[in-house]
Symmetry: C2
Subunit: 206 residues, 2 copies
């Protein structure tokens, strides 16, 4: 049927449509995503979308799924390239960089997914809960390792701290402007904040 969709053909159109959906989703939010806008970005007539998707929700659903998957994959890949015996805190810094790079330059999908999930109608959010959990699980594991290395302030609740950190990362999509500051600058600041913020640190005794 639709199946594995070997690339060629105009199943590339399909991808254009999904990409466009992510693009609009990222800027307008769930309710603000109009098919007419998606069509315009995808260079397609609006009803053409219905050749590939049977409803607006189905399209958005797929865009989000792709985004969540991509976010997880890119971070996981970056971690896989790091020496496995590196200190957990360094691996966490690598994840921070990968997440930011993905969000800010690599993928509208990932950014759209991350930022839009909270606005989705309950039924749809439910459908992505597992993917979300999978992604967060990667981070959770990292934080747990940091703790086992003794590099996590014992006064911090790991779960809460993680969410606060992920928030800092996710929100960058709202304000970062490639024209006004380098991506590396943001990554550097985020890494420092995370490293020192999580650490029991010199101030630990305090």
């Amino acid at each position: 049927m639709t199946g594995t969709a070997r690339d060629t053909k105009s199943a590339r159109t399909r991808r254009r449509v999904v990409d466009a959906a992510a693009h609009v989703l990222l800027r307008r939010g769930y309710a603000g995503t109009r098919l007419s806008d998606v069509a315009e970005v995808a260079q397609v007539q609006a009803p053409a979308i219905y050749y590939y998707f049977s409803s607006r929700d189905e399209l958005i659903d797929e865009a989000v799924a792709v985004g969540l998957d991509r976010a997880r994959t890119l971070v996981t890949d970056a971690l896989a390239e790091a020496p496995a015996d590196a200190p957990a805190i360094d691996r966490l810094a690598i994840a921070v960089a990968a997440h930011l790079r993905t969000l800010l330059t690599h993928s509208d999908h990932a950014a759209a997914a991350v930022r839009t999930v909270p606005q989705l109608p309950e039924a749809m959010r439910e459908r992505h809960r597992q993917a979300q959990r999978d992604y967060v699980a990667v981070w959770r594991r990292l934080v747990a390792e940091v703790r086992d290395d003794g590099d996590l302030d014992p006064a911090l609740d790991p779960g809460t701290a993680l969410m606060v950190v992920l928030g800092a990362l996710n929100w960058t999509a709202e304000w970062w402007d490639p024209a006004r500051g380098s991506l590396e600058g943001v990554i550097d600041a985020a890494q420092r904040l995370v490293r020192d913020g999580l650490a029991a640190g010199g101030t630990g005794a305090r």
Copy 2:
């Protein structure tokens, strides 16, 4: 005319409408905010809104403006109550707590403003840019004072670090669930991350 609106009267209805708008805005986003829903929450018939506002956008505009103003005011007030000679880093922690409290429990308006601004149509966002800057300015000043106290890691760009921190705070609105964790817990984690994250710290030398 409308003017200063001495309280009493049923210009309290007006406030109910704005409150309702913030309530809906927070949960549904800009495009998802329907006047019928606002009306329902405000206990009013939908067209009644037009007695006070000449369009949907004007209503939303005001709700956002109130929210931005409230966010700034509540943080400023909290700072005003702190001893003026307290170390800047402590004053920053106070601001963190105030911001989180406002966002998460005190004000639908503030939360709606913070979460919705990015989705607003450009023209409207433009109109609030100044208010946003005013709010950020309060934080900028705080961070500058922290730096002057020598409590800011010199390797951190103050502007970038500030945005990363504000992101962490703002994103809490997306995930924090009163049922699943205490507000104090979030505040505590955020304060620790900010204190240690910004500090040159023992780890500064690396």
